[in-house]
Every structure is written in C-alpha cells, then in structure tokens.
Amino acid sequence: MFVLDDLLFRPFVGIVDAIHTIALDELYDVDGLEDELKENQLLYELGERSEEEYRRRKAELEDELEIAREVHERLASGRVEVKS
C-alpha cells in the first residue's frame, strides 16, 4: 500500500509543484518590475511624470521588487513549501 501511494502521489505533487512555481514566477516578475522601474525613471526625466508621482511609484516598485527577489531566492533554495 505504501509503495502504491508513493508512486501515485509523487508525479501529482511534481505537477502541482511545477504549476505553483510558474504561478509564482508570473506573480513575482523580477524582470518586469525592473523594466517598470527604468520606465518610471525615463518618464520622470522626460518631464511626463511629476517628481511626487515618480518617487511614490519608485518606492512602490522597489518594495515589490524586494519581495519578488526574496521569493525567487527561496524558490531556488527549495525553501518555499507547496501546500494544497
């Protein structure tokens, strides 16, 4: 019984795990956030975005980026648990 469970269960966990990882990748999109940071800077430099708006957006994006990087670090080290 143990063997059967093990065999049936493992591939399933593998797929859930993979889907979960992809979802996390999209949710915590480091490259996308970095691009947005650069765009924010550019629009500010071009005078299309006020200093206030620029600073607010920059702080927001930097916070999101920090979280995204941390999630990816944990994913890479296997420290993110997949719970179903």
Partner: protein, 210 residues
C-alpha cells in the same frame, strides 16, 4: 572607525597614481590607487565586501569615475560595475596581476573615448515606424562613433536605446547629429546622456573569489 582592509573598486587606470578627497562609496572620504606594476585599481576603504547598491552610492561611484575621466585632458579608465569590493590589498593585486593583459587591452580600447547614451522615445500616442527611425539614427550616428552597442528596450515607448563609444574629438560632430535628429523628428523625444565612463565597452570581469 571600521576595519579598513576592505577595498571598494571603481575602476582601473594605467600610469601615475591617483589620490583625491571626495564623498566616496560607503562613507569613505579618500579615493586612491593600489598598484601592480603600471596598473592602478582606483579604490576607497569600505567596511563590507558586499556593498548594497543605494542610489546615493551608485551616484558616487559614477562621479568618482567621471572625475578621473575628466582629469587633465582626459584619462582612460576601465570602469567596474557597482559593487566590487575586495577583502585585502593582496587579493586585489592578484586580480590586477591575473588580468593584466585584459586590462591593458581594455584601456587601449577606451583611450581618448567616452560613452554616450541615446534613447529615442516615441511621443505619447504617436505612431512611429520604428525600423525607419532605427535606420535613420544608424545612418547619422554610426559613422561618427567608434563602436556602439544596443541596450534593453525596457518600455514600449522606447524606439531605440543604444550606447556609443565616441572619440573625444568627435564629440562635437556627435552632438550636432543629435541636434539634427531632435529638430527633424516631431514624434520622437531624444534623451541624450553622458559622457559616462565606458561601462558598455569593456569586457573585463573580475571576482574577489578568483
């Protein structure tokens, strides 16, 4: 204040040593060179080997390099990216020794030249033929530049994002070409920046772990 045996590296020069006071990365106040033969690593003291890239320190890093580049008639410097720090002079000298030919080549490539940045941005709501614009820019700028390299198009407003390595004596011609572009293209905004240390045109990677 703090253990001062860690060295934060800005770049590498050849010839006479450098020393000046300034607001340096990580709170230090003196920038100087640590030499191996004719090569000198431009450094300041720092309390970590893994400095965090704050806006303030990134600006200081740039300003130190710019000051060296603008020294006298202009001095060649191989710039390091932000964040390179070594735990001892010995480790740093080992790197200079190991990469000596690569540094010499890189110094030779950038001698008498500066890096300029050009971003062409589509005006909001403008419909632009990106290929035609790219071709026009290439026709204007490539003949003047010694080298160029494309950068990431990080926004859908960006039509072109390139760095150009330009001889100091061709600066004026380059400026004039940019002015012509700005005048002719109503739907485009030209963001022209620099001169910078030639970050995009040196290919020496060093690591403290070597």
């Amino acid at each position: 204040m703090f253990p001062v045996n860690n060295r934060y590296v800005y770049g590498v020069v050849e010839g006479d040593p450098i020393e000046f006071e300034t607001d340096a990365v990580g709170g230090a106040s003196v920038v100087y060179t640590i030499s191996h033969r004719r090569l000198g690593a431009v450094v300041s003291d720092i309390d970590t080997t893994d400095p965090e890239e704050t806006d303030e320190d990134a600006t200081r890093h740039d300003e130190v390099l710019r000051r060296i580049m603008n020294d006298g008639d202009g001095r060649a410097v191989v710039p390091m990216q932000f964040g390179m720090a070594f735990e001892s002079d010995r480790a740093l000298k080992n790197v200079l020794r190991g990469a000596l030919p690569a540094f010499r080549r890189a110094l030779n490539d950038v001698e008498g030249r500066v890096e300029l940045g050009v971003k062409i941005v589509r005006a909001e709501d403008a419909d632009v033929d990106a290929d035609a614009v790219t071709e026009r820019i290439a026709d204007e700028l490539e003949p003047i530049a010694a080298q160029s390299v494309g950068n990431d198009l990080f926004s859908d407003r960006l039509v072109l994002n390139r760095s150009y390595l330009v001889d100091r004596e061709d600066r004026e011609a380059f400026d004039e070409a940019i002015a012509r572009l700005e005048e002719d293209e109503d739907d485009l905004v030209v963001r022209y920046t620099g001169p910078f240390a030639p970050y995009s045109f040196v290919d020496v990677t060093i690591g403290a772990q070597r």
